[in-house]
Amino acid sequence: MINSLKYNLVGILTVICMVVAYTAEEKIIKLITGSLLIIALIFSLIETQRSIELSSGQKQLSWIILIPLLSLVGYLYKIYE
């Protein structure tokens, strides 16, 4: 139960980062939360690929994370262009 609460809290923090990155008006806040989100997505992808608990099919499916990751990178790049 404690573990699931911990994972849910990490998930909620990630969602908050996503909302702030897309809706904040200050560029610096967008950059900070966006960067945190990018780190979280990359970390998640690496952990999924390294995990011995997941089957190869699930590992292949996790590459789908690249879609929101690249869209976020593009969004932040566009802001600072």
């Binding site: 996503m18 897309y22 608990e53 089957s55 699930q58 590992k59």
Partner: protein
């Protein structure tokens, strides 16, 4: 050598419980997505038809996600196999890799709420309480450790 696995019913029950604990997070993420989509031009919340259609699509997507999550998770749990020999315990994971701990290398063991945790050098194996014949397996291991 003896093998222990999850039964189909227990694996399904475990996955259902895990998915239920994830529902609040999924709902929060869905509403956050709606909020982001609406933040640009207030298109979703100002139009009742668009709002109801969006909510319906979200509900269908979440339901399909939960259903597939339970199905794939159950399949994954069923691929976990615990093999006990006279000298060691081996856990075969869904990826096909296995963790092997010899009984004479076990540093620590603890009975948790979730099951029996065996620790050796840089290796851990948790024997989940939901496993079929958990009592037989844990007794066998504890006897070997002593």
């Amino acid at each position: 050598m003896k093998e222990f696995k999850y039964s189909n019913e227990k694996a399904k029950k475990v996955m259902k419980t895990q998915m239920i604990t994830k529902i609040p997070l999924i709902l929060i993420a869905s509403f956050a997505g709606l909020y982001i989509a609406n933040s640009k031009n207030n298109m979703i919340f100002s139009n009742k038809l668009v709002l109801s259609l969006t909510l319906l699509i979200c509900l269908i997507a979440v339901s399909i996600g939960l259903f597939l999550g339970i199905k794939n998770g159950t399949k994954m749990l069923l691929q976990n196999i615990y093999k006990v020999t006279e000298t060691s315990i081996e856990r075969v994971t869904p990826s096909g890799k296995s963790i092997n701990i010899a009984f004479n290398t076990i540093d620590n063991h603890k009975i948790h709420k979730k099951g029996l945790l065996i620790s050796a050098k840089k290796k851990n194996i948790l024997i989940p309480i939901e496993l079929d014949e958990y009592n037989v397996l844990s007794t066998l291991i504890l006897k070997q450790i002593k």
